[in-house]
Symmetry: C2
Subunit: 456 residues, 2 copies
């Protein structure tokens, strides 16, 4: 088996005269340099320490932009600049929640993005508790009139994002569905696999009512209170505001290609974060992984251009669309596009661009990362990145490096998203995979557009 | 070995005619009933759900008192009553902390008990960071003038309380030591073995300056900022107040003895809690363990009286002294005294009352709990309970059941102290040990006063 694989790799190399014959040894060197490099850790440390939380539309986001520009310049990137756009930005104000009756005690909440503020004097109402989101959806119009709807459905821990995907609609669409049925407020158990008493923020569709996430312990507390059979009355005080045209920026740096500078490999993470934590795993890690990988892959000037984009409004949306709109004419020259936005734990599976698995450059890449025992999904990449989806839809080839998120949703979007949650060794595995892929792609003539085109 | 032990036990039983010959089988039945009983879990569930956080001096503490009276009555305890006393009670107000420069971002803090509030307009000052408390103590008077002293020393995880004991003075005495050296404020890394972004509260000696605990992640954040060499300026806004004569209560219930009702076994936990969590492991668990154990040990009326005390001001002090002062005349009739206040994880070692190890009642007790493989410390009990220390000093025999606190300080005094952190199986092991001990003591004529008296 090993011999056969080796023979196939050798045959592939022979069939690709444009690619350096020493690609395997170059890739091994890039991979090993990445595993030993402090660059990614230093970037994550710097962003979380020197900027911290950075929501789109906030003064911290301007500091994050300046940080990104300075960091890329200090790392020797070229053509460093910020590309401005505007987007709607929701901003949290003071928030408080209390059980009023029958058992007064405070609750830990975080308002969801695009939540309405409570009326002056706060909102006090009885809760209508649902153990699953489906149970809420089964209610007829008017069934929740005057109530604060509460869904306490639990999220399942999975290695991929299946556990999260299964419950995201209870956060995103829940406020609207509750409001349709007459609810005056909406609460959910945080989309979390952890059990710390920290709520998890996140975006929801604007529904005209206050909407917030409870910590898992608080959702269980209300469940126990409700199980006693008496009405449970909750008071919410939530301030928030929306700037419909907040300034925002995608921050860009390049390592220009020597032979085909117009052919561009685009990689990045997102620079903005939710406010409760310091945006370490979401997404200082992704910024760090892709920036470090680009730097390491481009240590010697590559054939093609390597571009890093720090997208400026992933959490509340807008940066991916803005970037695709500004770069639509360039999509045909985009060799491949990828985003890292699933934390700092290791890559356990990947999907290559459509039709590329047999290409010598991809074979050399896969050989280089073979020690990581990553599962090669035969399905083509479909863009797991919120900021790369619009580029993909515009025709850019994409690659998906899929991280183990078993622990990610313990801390995702919560105050627990801090630097100490990043494991430097697992972070380095990500950098090694990305750097190897970028190197193989930037120093070959692989054409993912042609490989991925439907057969004639 | 087994035969020898059996022979020794049989000889002991023969030497104790006053003790029921069927004590071993009775104890096994009590132990097994305790392992299967829902009572302790139900008590902890009820107190955390129906009262929640309950600091001495707060309205919630009055609800806790009423809860305790009702719970003891509903469980069939006799002579149920509250014993009032007064104590100084510190009360938290709004608290906020921010890094002002060089890298503005919010910090997560909890004011320490007996902290002073900040002046109107808040306190803004540069920090003086110490990696160990010893480094702060090495500073001369005046060295911290105008500074907020910050100690970021880490706590070590240990199975016993050694890790905690090693750092408690940096919390309790730190504010005074910092103030002596001119500091205008005092911050510590939370005394925590966990890494959630939740600070841990706790008592400190009043020092006339604001004093607070940072979450571990925030302590590390400030350490990283300070390491960059520029002055780090922090702003604190902390409100608090003190009621020097707050009303408080020790809540008491008994199962009266049939033959020697004036001979009293006193067991309990503390009813008050810190405010950020719901006081589940600290100390609904101890209240639940001892109340359930008393109920199960006294299912059939015992020879001696079993008394449960829910002490009303452990966290800020006062309830143990008040109880000892009110019951000084009764100390000679107190058979033994014990407090459960180290969480809900299992008992791994124990110390018997001085001189009692060879007594048949204690041998029967140890035989009953042998399946738990508890380490029998040959040293006599020295009262690990803050509320029983004053009774011990007044002459009451004490017993120490020492729990595994490996996980306890992850959540102790933080918002994470919620019901979901209690493992019902480990809670039940505690109940089984306490119930077996109470049964053996309440149904024998063992005299710990005489056994523990110095040899003539």
């Amino acid at each position: 088996m090993r011999l056969l694989m080796f023979a196939a790799a050798a045959a592939s190399l022979a069939a690709a005269p444009a690619m350096a014959q020493d690609l395997p040894s170059k890739l091994a060197a890039v991979r090993d340099a990445a595993l030993a490099s402090p660059i990614a850790w230093d970037i994550a440390e710097s962003l979380t320490t020197e900027v911290g939380p950075r929501t789109v539309g906030s003064p911290a986001m301007e500091r994050a932009r300046d940080w990104g520009l300075a960091k890329l310049k200090s790392l020797g990137f070229e053509n460093v600049h910020a590309e401005p756009f505007t987007t709607a930005a929701w901003s949290r104000g003071a928030e408080q929640a209390l059980v009023i009756a029958p058992y007064p005690q405070p609750l830990q909440i975080l308002g969801l993005g695009d939540s309405s503020p409570t009326p002056p004097g706060g909102l006090t109402a009885p809760i209508a508790l649902f153990h699953t989101y489906a149970e809420l959806l089964a209610e007829p119009p008017g069934a929740l009139t005057g109530k604060i709807a509460l869904v306490v459905e639990k999220m399942t821990r999975t290695r991929d994002s299946a556990g999260y995907s299964a419950v995201t609609r209870m956060r995103s669409a829940g406020p609207k569905e509750a409001a349709k049925r007459g609810a005056v407020g909406y609460l959910i158990r945080s989309l979390s696999t952890g059990n710390t008493r920290l709520p998890h923020a996140g975006e929801a569709d604007a529904a005209g009512i206050p909407a917030a996430a409870l910590s898992t312990a608080d959702a269980e507390l209300l469940d126990r209170m409700a199980a006693r059979g008496q009405p449970v009355t909750v008071r919410l005080d939530m301030a928030s505001s929306v700037n419909p045209v907040a300034p925002a920026w995608n921050v860009v740096g390049e390592i220009r290609g020597s032979e085909a500078p117009d052919q561009v490999i685009v990689v990045g993470g997102h620079l903005d974060s939710w406010d409760p934590g310091t945006g370490a795993i979401d997404d200082a890690a992704g910024v760090a992984i892709t920036t470090a990988a680009a730097r390491l892959a481009g240590a010697q000037r590559p054939r093609r251009t390597i571009r890093v984009v720090m997208w400026g409004s992933e959490e509340q949306g807008g940066s991916g669309r803005a970037y695709a709109a500004a770069h639509r004419a360039e999509v045909g020259d985009m060799v491949v596009v990828g985003e890292s936005d699933d934390g700092a734990d290791s890559i356990w599976t990947l999907r290559l661009p459509r039709g590329s698995a047999g290409h010598p450059a991809m074979q050399a890449f896969l050989d280089a990362i073979a020690p990581f025992r990553i599962v090669i999904d035969p399905a083509p990449a479909r863009s797991g990145g919120a900021d790369t989806r619009a580029l993909m839809q515009a025709g850019a080839p994409v690659v998906d490096f899929i991280q183990d998120v078993s622990r990610y949703f313990d801390i995702h979007h919560s105050a627990d998203d801090t630097l100490d949650k990043i494991d430097p060794a697992l972070l380095a595995q990500n950098v090694a995979v990305w750097a190897s892929f970028i190197y193989a792609t930037a120093n070959s003539d692989i054409d993912f557009h042609a490989l991925g085109a439907p057969a004639k």
